[in-house]
Amino acid sequence: MEKLTTVDGRAYPFGMKNVDTDIVIPAHWLKTISRSGLGKGAFEVLRKEPGNVFDDPDYAGSPILIAGDNFGCGSSREHAAWALGDLGIKVVIAPSFSDIFSGNAFKNGILTVVLPQAAVDRLLEVAKTDPIHVDLETQTVTTQFQDRFHFEIDPFRKHCLLGGLDEIGLTLDDVDAIDSYEAKIAVERPWTVPAVA
């Protein structure tokens, strides 16, 4: 996983509430065999509407998405996080997220930032014309207009994102513990390894 320390850039001023994962990526995209390439299907239905932020050249390639309350509700499909990542999004800012989505986002190196509605409203304004700066180390979102918003994050998740440690990498740091467990079981319950068919 890529390290995430600071993210600087334009942000999609999206703002929609209760965006479910069917909106993020419709079900017919689930037959794919790849995590990549799902950006094409991201917000597929919304992108049919003229003037939508995702097709506005002003915001093309923005690394930040600013959304409304309860972002990522509904189906647990991890494809939603994959689709946003494929679109180039590294941070989603919203007043609240579904638990499952924020877990899936984290597992895919995407930071979810929870800020009060008033702060989100202010950032939606700024995003229309200017970039936004997110600093994970200091847990702040700032703008060039002296805005400074502090956010909370689970220390374990912060540690993983800053270090670019995916959960697998982190578990593999403990590979000695796994090795010794396996060595112990090989003695205590050797038959646990399947007999060869």
Partner: protein, 483 residues
């Protein structure tokens, strides 16, 4: 003195690799079943990170969701191409990934191929006291043999492939107790549906269930697989049966189970896997076996159950306003009206199959009822999809295929099939299916499809009359065996 422990706690404790300060544990995974739908991105993740599968010997890959149930090889043994390019691509990915990462693949034309949750027990891959995972929610099935088994997401699939572990928090425990004797015509499927109706589909959320009581002790291993399979339909990620002599007899001699002296050593440990006297469950649910009757679903959730002799409920009869609204929506979708008798509901499709009810005992129960009978004229398609190639072969050796074919059923190749319609087997919009599967969700068997969950014997009964039917009305003395 050692604190008395539940079966779940014993298996959990035996698999803790490391305990973290916040209570999270790194849990060792003994068995990993892989299928074609939820694994491609996990293998891709390994490839991108330059990682290997830590224990290919503990991993078994079997395609099941996308496979057509029509013949897969022509007379010359050449593969018959799969029409849907996306299904073909998911299957091809598994056939490429398994050998690349050294994982054993049971392929689409192998005799042992079948639904992962049928193949695991059948091959002796599933063992008591093991932790077993798969990227599929019906992994709970394997709890029938006393394995702590649960479904996982794709990132977790990758985590298990790379590390053979998962980071987990311990669940709460729920005892589901059914004592007494099941009446003739009442099957393990009816018990599972009764549990869903009693607990509700969210009732088991956060819990691991343990099935206790005389009904479960007396139940066959295949019946236990049906019940454990539907634990997830009552919200529990996992459901356990304490392994017993029936379990050991079932496993003895299976190809991937321990052999010889190893088997005896394993049995000695497996015998310790019972809940201790005095162990405390966080919750206990008690159901009297005498209260369980042949059951059907009327709505679009597995908790929407009613005796087959009953009527479609009135949405207003539910206390909770949100349930009232949901029930009305379900009835509109299902094309039913409150007060309608279930036995007056006409059926167009019969599906006997799925990881819930596609094993040999299920096929025997349906065939016992169909012998000498024929499907009704209103039935457009009745099909049997055996859970595995070995189940199919066994059924053919017993002549069951002839009974189904003579009765007007189609006799298909094994796979998940019309349970979720990822392959071509779908129920058309607005048409009604009596199905032995596990989910009656809107659109589950195809867009607009209407599903009534039933036991195999009840599916056979519906096939014969063309209506949802009380199986007891068609049973002769001999067929009293269907239970």
């Amino acid at each position: 003195m050692v604190k008395p422990r539940t079966l779940y706690e014993k298996i959990w404790d035996a698999h803790v690799v490391e305990r973290r300060p916040d209570g999270t544990c790194l849990i060792y995974i003994d068995r990993h079943l892989v299928h074609e739908v939820t694994s491609p991105q996990a293998f891709e993740g390994l490839r991108l990170a330059g990682r290997k599968v830590r224990r290919p010997d503990l991993t078994l890959a079997v395609p099941d969701h996308n496979l057509p149930t029509t013949p897969r090889r022509d007379a010359q043994g050449n593969r018959i191409p799969i029409a849907d390019p996306e299904s073909a691509q998911q299957l091809a990915a598994l056939e490429r990934n398994a050998p690349e990462f050294g994982v054993r693949l049971i392929g689409d034309a192998d005799a042992e191929q079948g639904i992962v949750h049928v193949v695991g027990p059948e091959q002796g891959f599933t063992l008591p006291g093991t932790t077993l995972v798969c990227g599929d929610s019906h992994t709970s099935s394997h709890g029938a043999l006393g394995a702590l088994a649960f479904g996982i997401g794709t990132s977790e699939v990758e985590h298990v492939l790379a590390t053979q572990t998962l980071l987990l928090k311990q669940s709460k425990t729920m005892a589901v107790v059914v004592d007494g004797e099941l009446a003739p015509g009442v099957t393990p499927k009816d018990v599972a549906l009764a549990i869903c109706g009693t607990i509700g589909t969210a009732g088991g959320t956060g819990y691991v269930m343990e099935y206790r009581g005389s009904v479960f002790r007396d139940m066959s291993i295949e019946g236990r697989l049906t019940v454990a399979n539907m634990s997830i339909e009552a919200g529990a990620r996992s459901g356990l049966f304490a392994p017993d002599d029936k379990t050991f007899a079932y496993l003895k001699g299976r190809p991937m189970a321990p052999q010889g002296a190893d088997f005896d050593a394993a049995v000695a440990w497996w015998r310790t896997l019972v809940t201790d006297e005095g162990a405390v469950f966080d919750k206990t649910v008690v159901i009297d076996a005498a209260d369980i009757v042949p059951t059907v679903t009327w709505g679009t959730s597995p908790e929407d159950v009613v005796p087959v002799t009953g009527v479609v409920p009135d949405p207003q009869s539910f206390a909770d306003p949100s349930k009232q609204a949901a029930a009305q929506k379900s009835l509109d979708y299902m094309g039913l009206t409150a007060g309608q008798r279930m036995e007056e509901v006409a059926i167009e499709h019969i599906f006997i199959g799925s990881c819930t009810n596609s094993r040999i005992e299920d096929l025997r129960a349906a065939a016992a009822l169909l012998k000498g009978r024929h499907i009704a004229s209103g039935i457009k398609l009745a099909m049997v999809v055996p859970g595995s190639g070995l189940v199919k072969r066994q059924a053919e050796a017993e002549g069951l295929d002839r009974i189904f074919l003579d009765a007007g059923f189609e006799w298909r190749e094994p796979g998940c099939s019309a349970c979720l319609g990822m392959n071509p087997d779908k129920v058309p919009a607005g048409e009604r299916c009596a199905s032995t599967s596990n989910r009656n969700f809107m659109g589950r068997q195809g867009p607009g499809s209407r599903t009534h969950l039933v036991s195999p014997a009840m599916a056979a009964a519906a096939a014969v009359t063309g209506y949802l039917t009380d199986v007891r009305a068609l049973m002769t003395d001999k067929e009293g065996m269907v239970a």
